[in-house]
Symmetry: C2
Subunit: 299 residues, 2 copies
Amino acid sequence: MAAPPSLLQDSLAQIAADIDQEFDGLLKLPGDARDRLYAAMRHAAIGGGKRLRPLLVTATAALFHVDRAVALRVGTAVEAIHVYSLVHDDLPCMDDDDMRRGKPTVHRAFDDATAVLAGDSLHALAFEILANPQTHGDPFVRGELVSTLALASGPEGMAGGQMMDIEAEKSTFDLQTVMRLQALKTGALIAASVEMGAILGHIPAEGRTHLRGYARDIGLAFQIADDILDVEGDPELAGKALQKDAAANKGTFVSLMGLERAKQQAEMLVQQANDHLSNYGAEADLLRAIANYITERDR
Amino acid sequence: MAAPPSLLQDSLAQIAADIDQEFDGLLKLPGDARDRLYAAMRHAAIGGGKRLRPLLVTATAALFHVDRAVALRVGTAVEAIHVYSLVHDDLPCMDDDDMRRGKPTVHRAFDDATAVLAGDSLHALAFEILANPQTHGDPFVRGELVSTLALASGPEGMAGGQMMDIEAEKSTFDLQTVMRLQALKTGALIAASVEMGAILGHIPAEGRTHLRGYARDIGLAFQIADDILDVEGDPELAGKALQKDAAANKGTFVSLMGLERAKQQAEMLVQQANDHLSNYGAEADLLRAIANYITERDR
């Protein structure tokens, strides 16, 4: 049963406006020699981006009737981690990208040193938000949130995946290694977003099995769709350079499976993700719409 | 009343061995394409360094009879933040340093991208340690630890000070601005180390006034001593390049106050730091010895 298309579109528009507002409130210029740092953080964090991770936090939290303001703050923390990783990933010594979210990357708009520090600062900000009693009154919940995000973003998660991604340019990885790489590089943070929504809903770890399955499947589908977009997408719409993987001769889902099989695989994963939600009724329609959106998006 | 010199020397040797052991346990090579990342983290984190911040955590925690193993884990988290900041600070786009703690810097021993990721990974590791229930059983304490460290290391603390430091090369700061810069760049994390020891001791915020005064004074004394060492020190002993501030024409305590007045100021701050400990007996002798060491050290 498909959700009305407006549910997804409205939710995407709403979360984009809300996350911009959260960052705007958090990143007021201090009016001293740190202004350049805050300006760089604002450049990176405000305006643009699909805000998929915060949407996953709020959509999952909504299943359990969590106060939206609380879920939004947690979503902002996850997005701060995502944005910091993009800022560092775009650096000349990493992917050396000039455009991101339709704007010059931070090191192009400012300079490399400011980009390093802006990324580091957004990284710290994420944990500051989660540990703040104003974000959530229950210290157990705050601790679980910090733990989940730190694990998902560190060497056991995102940063570990980025390292594998760098190594992928040196040797050709097989499909299994690419799956592992992507599970860490993008999958871990997407899974953490869903997990954190469930934590806010006071769902114990053993009650999160289906949501974890959903998150794992959409995470992998997301990355396959990204590889497809890298080949077929419009750089104008994507707001960043494309076809970089082929140029770097990197093993991707498309190069390893072929375009058609990659598309089938992504579709199958979306179907599987939706199957994990079969215990839920209409309250999970937004999560279903997000799963469908992942392979249908053009950016 | 001076503590026996062996108290400080023994404590420094002990904390160095303990922190190396903690990092060694945390950073086992995973045996996959992330090995290079873990090797870089180990290169940065194990071997060398005064371990002043973990020593401040354990020495303060010992005032309140905190289990040393717990204080050590928290000290390791603070040191992980310190080490990540050194790794990023040494990058070519930042200070461009070749040597650190008597070894090649991470980007020299590995490469720039690995150094960025190793720094990011140590950053995440710090919060992973603090949020882990095995570090401390009380979630309130864990939350306060995360909050304190995130604030001290982010744009309101260390990263903000690093940004000011970069701006200092463009314009000449007056003494007041340099004091503010250093209070953020190095002072915030030193203060957080003492604060986290007190948090482990379940000392409420209003009971930490004297310890905060102590921390603020040694933090400033530490930076003045660093500026003096930059002029007078032996690069061999320091394990890094010196006289960089004068070359960059940066305002330092020495350039703004003159060498003699800077030395007097550092001595006065150490005296003042010790005065803040007058409510404590022999149990604070190690904190006193640390304060004295700060201006007497040769590296």
